[in-house]
Symmetry: C2
Subunit: 433 residues, 2 copies
């Protein structure tokens, strides 16, 4: 029995230890955030440029550390696709470094006065962007997220606490060490970039309790990871669970364009959240459009699941079940439904959609405007592929994630979405009467 | 024992019943939100104008219902100040009606395209404001909040679920009935304004679980109410716990102006969150400024609690304890501290402040700019009273509340803060390569 009690005690101590470590990291981040908020864009850009250089110079060390993760991954039998995402090659490291330089080249959102107005009593009132404070990033497998996320947080003046997957712990630690080393060398707050070096899941649970030190949590990964984070977090979480993206092909659309866009949206990269999952076709367009489009999609390897009307028009479609309309396939499968009109298309999107991205293909001016106005997903397009729902493609310069909840940010998030605004007021002795 | 089990069963049924009722209200709100989001500003303004008329026409009914609340309040021995806040007089009802008309006159934030830009591939990308969806307001005693909050939510295209205090249930119900009646008459979604008619606290607990139907909770009331809401809520809460507002009087400030502003900030309305709570005085200004300012504040009935240096300069100050620096007095009490320089003032604000509102009184250009840039509270002023930290005073046209958390909104919140932005994209057949 002694050994049992000993084991319980050891476990308890370990667990206390994890809690204490995570709290210490969070407190350091909070302190670093205040200092970082005051750094100039020049200081931050200089650090980002040197971080890029250091990553390139320490390629061999990074690959050596990465090899330790890869060896462990092979032992535990991680899937080939996962191992691929975990691997740091010369080209991955070069892309990481280039990414840091791109972030350095972006405009600094901090300190920007977005508007300013004069009050009748002479007060000059403005809104100035400031950092959010401390951002927690929880992510899986890809070690490059460590550098990407750290760079975006640094540039926007936020301290970051990174918690990557246990399968990438050596790689993530090596990258974070390099970034932190540059902060130290340049006399910037070192704790502005910290990685939680604990692979125990308890570290995440403890982190999600620290609302007094961490301002926002951004999880990056599959739906399961995100749901687990939301479930536990006392801190606000910016998230999207999934992207059930729709294209509605209107009657009288340019069918060649519609076909081209549907193919691109479904097949260009089917595993991502802005890929097409459900195709809605106006009943007056279906006879002319569907047979050809279905054949092209099938020729591209897409398995189709259709409603009865769709199946009557195009051969080789499995019947779609109610469940299919909610599905984010993330592979070469597409649900197809013939709808009576745009009202039915919008109602379908409202019922089954995920507030991510929807497009209409139309030649009709009124329908285009109505779709843009009435569909309240985070990204709504006319005559363009859903694949454009992306921070880089929309011109934000970067993307830290996509939000499908409406509070704070909705849709792809760039640097500005990592800031908030305070009111600044220039007075001349005004008092309230 | 039978009666015991019966009582348990009745209680359980009642409780199930509350849960079911609250869920039904929330589902109706969600459905109404979709319809309301599409209403034009004209439709919403017409409804607001008629609501104002109806409130005036039904004054007698409102006062009769209010009398029921007042009678119950007197029976339970509610404090006189609370009874005063609960009372609907002709003038209160007229002010409510005028408030609705003012909201009608404000610009509609919904549908506004805040920016638009062209991408290299020709895509035209813009951001359009849309309603948040369903807003839950939890508040205390003042029945006019029912009309005010409903009007702001309606104007910004959001469905609202109102949950006022049990002491005002008859008044709130009467007001909400009038507003809902107008929605019905004008064929707007009736469930866009709903009041939870259940006084049992369980109704709030159930409401705070419904994250799938309610997008945000805004509590309005004392710190205790707000903490209870945050503790229970699965839905994001926009809140401020308290306002520990500071004024820093710099060396070389216009001491007449400084005195005037401190008096205004502390005494004009001491019970509100933007009133002054701690005065920080530069040590080089203290000898000249403090004795006179302290005497004027004391003459205005303010009890002072000072650090040792402050007490040495001005008579009649109680010693301030560590606890005083954290206090939001909400009455005629002021903490006073002499600081070495602006660094110490900013450090004090960072340590003890509540991120609400801070002001500097200075003649120094550099110090003014530095204070505005480095103090990251939600409202930061130069040479003006902290009492201006208010949606109306800052020119937002309205105020639904104040946020001291940085996510989504920070500082006084107007109509725009009840919206989010979606991306709208005009394309011409673009696909991703």
């Amino acid at each position: 029995m002694t050994t049992f009690y000993q084991a319980v005690r050891v476990r308890k101590e370990l667990s206390m230890n994890i809690k204490a470590q995570v709290i210490e990291i969070a407190q350091k981040a909070r302190a670093a955030a205040a200092g970082l908020a005051r750094c100039s864009a020049e200081q931050k850009n200089r650090a980002l440029a040197e971080m890029a250089q250091e990553l390139l110079q320490q390629k061999d060390m990074l690959k050596k550390e990465n090899a330790r993760d890869l060896a462990a991954a092979r032992l535990t039998g991680l899937a080939a696709a996962m191992i691929d995402r975990l691997t740091l090659k010369d080209s991955t490291i070069e892309a990481m470094a280039a990414g840091l330089e791109e972030v350095a080249a972006l405009p600094d959102p901090v300190g920007k006065v977005t508007s300013m107005w004069r009050r009748p009593n002479g007060l000059l009132v403005g809104r100035m962007r400031i950092p959010l404070g401390v951002i927690g990033i929880i992510y899986e497998s890809r070690p490059n997220v460590t550098a990407d996320a750290a760079a975006l947080c640094l540039k926007s003046g936020n301290a970051v606490i990174l918690r990557g997957g246990s399968e990438a712990i050596h790689s993530n630690r090596a990258i974070a060490d390099i970034l932190q080393g540059v902060l130290r060398k340049q006399a910037l707050p070192e704790a502005a970039i910290q990685l939680i070096p604990i692979t125990d899941r308890k570290a995440v649970s403890e982190m999600l309790k620290l609302e007094e030190y961490i301002d926002v949590i951004i999880p990056r990964g599959g739906e399961e990871l995100i749901r687990a984070v939301v479930q536990q977090s006392k801190i606000p979480v910016i998230k999207h669970y999934k992207g059930v993206c729709h294209i509605f092909v209107d009657t009288g659309a340019d069918f060649g364009m519609a076909e081209n866009i549907c193919l691109n949206a479904k097949t260009q990269r089917p595993g991502v959240c802005n890929a097409l999952e459900t195709l809605l076709v106006h009943q007056d367009a279906a006879t002319q459009f569907l047979p050809g489009a279905a054949a092209k999609l099938q020729a591209a390897g897409v398995a189709l699941r259709g409603c009865e009307k769709a199946r009557a028009l195009a051969p080789g479609m499995e019947p779609a079940t109610e469940d299919d309309w909610y599905r984010e396939y993330l592979e070469l499968v597409l649900a197809v439904r013939v709808v009576r009109d745009m009202d039915e298309a919008i109602a379908h999107i409202e019922k089954y959609g995920s507030l991510h991205t929807e497009a209409i293909i139309t030649r009709d001016y009124h329908n285009a405007q109505r779709f843009l106005n009435e569909v309240n997903s985070s990204t709504v397009l006319v005559n363009a592929s859903t694949r454009f729902s992306d921070g880089f493609e929309l011109g934000l310069g970067a993307e830290i994630g996509i939000s499908t909840t409406k509070l704070h940010a909705f849709g792809p998030m760039g640097l500005e979405e990592l800031t908030t605004s305070k009111f600044i007021i220039y007075g001349d002795g005004q008092v309230r009467t």
